[in-house]
Amino acid sequence: MSHPRDRTGVMDRRDLAWYADRCAQVLIFAGGISAIVFIIGIFVFVTREGLGFVFGPLDLGQFFSSIEWRPTSDNPGYGALALMVGTLSVTGLAMLFSVPLSLGAALYIGEFAKGKTREALKILVEMLAAIPSVVWGFVGMSIMNPLIIQVFDVPVGLSALNAGIILGLMAAPIMTTIAEDALKAVPDSYREAAEALGATRWEVILKVVIPASKNGLVAAVLLGVGRGFGETMAVLMATGHSINIPTSPFDGVRALTATIASELGDTATGSPHYGSLFTLGIFLFVVTFLINLTADLVVKGIRKK
């Protein structure tokens, strides 16, 4: 950070350019650390609101093992197991649906598509990410719901499956983009060398490109999982918001995020219910943080090679 003019010995030339320079330095530094400041700020806030409850009335055993989420009952229950299983099942279904789709799309865009097709596809995939989540929720409620009822002959179409498909489509753009970047990071010399040895195109991709970009692909999937964990509005609308340990994909479930979204607005600040919702928030924060951290470390893994 030393100033170039320092070395010339002219220490007191504080003209306009000097101030502009300092200003720019401070602004860029502030921009650089703002993300850290925000994330620490949010963590401190969520923890402060929730910790009083965690160390007070909350029974941690009940929180992790019971499905009895009855925060407004006369005998309140704060069992979040069904909510965790709900979030997991929806995210799991979404990944089941989205991982082959996005990795396939990334392979096609990165390895096969040429010229205009490739550019058009890239833009379209990124546009998919621009659809607001409440619109996805609306699709889940008014298009997927009747469709699932008709196709699978089930009583209700709001279910883990419905939300899984919606969430899969929502997570696909980010996964496709990152996976494609990972494929692109594999040097062409690898492909050329493999082809020179007589490998078919399929063999090049399967045995050279994919192993070489493995870390990036895993990171893409993990970021997709993080996206699924944190999604709220679409999940609230498409799951049916039903407290349930699902035994089939057609069962309604309830997600952690959706529970916070639907209950927090009507809850008195500082009440046990309020605290319990922030406890869910802490749990979500920690889980998504770990997922993203893992993804980050995995990506760092490729860079080191």
Binding site: I67, E68, W69, R70, P71, T72, S73, D74, N75, A82, M141, N145, P146, I149, D153, V154, P155, V156, L158, L236, G240, H241, S242, I243, N244, G252, R254, S262, E263, G265, D266, T267, A268, T269, H273
Partner: protein
């Protein structure tokens, strides 16, 4: 520049001091989503009655309105449930004495798909369907065979657990101290309940009568096996014969004075009560409206 601003401020203050008639009073009104439609209609109609008073209405739910009353940020809180003792104490701790006004009644209708053949249902059956430990899981348990519902499963459609409607249904139907069976589809709003039940032959749900549409079936409700089965309607809610009818409440911070008192008086007058009747809720007494 500073001088101009301070001069303007003085001028505004001076004008305000000229007379109360020149000043528009603003009443903050917040709370129950059930009451939101009516509260907005009252505010609009009252604007014509007394142009010097503006009423700002926001929803957010009964709990939101009551929290705002406790925190002193609202003049009138709308609620579809009574304030709990703990909430009244919290308000008193902030120096606010909430005064309750019954401004109307709401019949909680039971909603079924229009193909559902059940013409009536008893409170016991509702407890068996919705209540924790209730054994009714299938439509055939009620002696009904619902077309379009081959699985025979009763799909319970409910509300999120802090809505005034949910809490009232729990108290009035399931009984104090009882809980809902888990696994219901908890919708975020009365309109969503109606939407889902309309499209789901196996479903049963509940919400304010005012949310009913043409394509939904509302069975009559009998208090017990010997009582008559009464259909949900404004008339039966006024009479008190419909078993699941609740008072709609407004709370003021202390005995209302000035513009707020005038507004509350007008809401309880025939003119105000006609507005609530037109919106599909029951007035506090029988009124004749044009």
């Amino acid at each position: 520049m500073k001088r101009i601003i301070s001069l303007t401020t003085v001028a505004i203050l001076a004008c305000g001091g000229d007379g109360d008639r020149a000043q528009r009073a603003l009443i903050q009104n917040k709370g129950s989503d059930t009451l939101l439609n009516v509260a907005q209609a009252w505010a609009e109609t009252y604007g014509a009655v007394n142009p010097n008073v503006a009423v700002a209405v926001t929803g957010g739910g009964s709990g939101t309105g009551i929290s705002a009353m406790i925190n002193g940020t609202v003049d009138i809180a709308n609620s579809s449930r009574a304030m709990r003792d703990s909430e009244i104490e919290a308000a008193r701790a902030n120096g606010i004495e909430p005064i309750e006004f019954v401004v109307g009644h709401d019949a909680l209708a039971i909603f079924m798909h229009e193909d559902n053949p059940m013409s009536g249902i008893t409170m016991d059956q509702l407890r068996g369907i919705f209540g924790e430990g209730g054994g009714l899981e299938r439509w055939s348990d009620l002696g009904a065979s619902v077309p379009g519902c081959p699985s025979d499963e009763i799909i319970r459609v409910s509300r999120q657990n802090n809505s005034g409607t949910y809490i009232y249904f729990r108290e009035a139907v399931l009984g104090a101290g009882n809980d809902f069976k888990l696994g219901s589809y908890d919708m975020h709003g009365s309109k969503d309940v109606v939407d889902l039940v309309e499209n789901t032959p196996c479903a049963i749900g509940y919400s304010g009568l005012a949310y009913a549409t043409e394509h939904i079936h509302m069975p009559c409700v009998a208090a017990d096996d010997v009582s008559a089965c009464v259909g949900p309607a404004v008339q039966t809610a006024i009479e008190g014969s419909y078993p699941i009818s609740r008072p709609l409440l407004m709370y003021t911070a202390g005995q209302p004075i000035g513009a707020i008192r005038d507004y509350m008086d007008w809401i309880l007058s025939d003119a105000g009560q006609c507005v609530i009747q037109q919106r599909g809720y029951a007035p506090v007494r029988e009124v004749t409206c044009t």
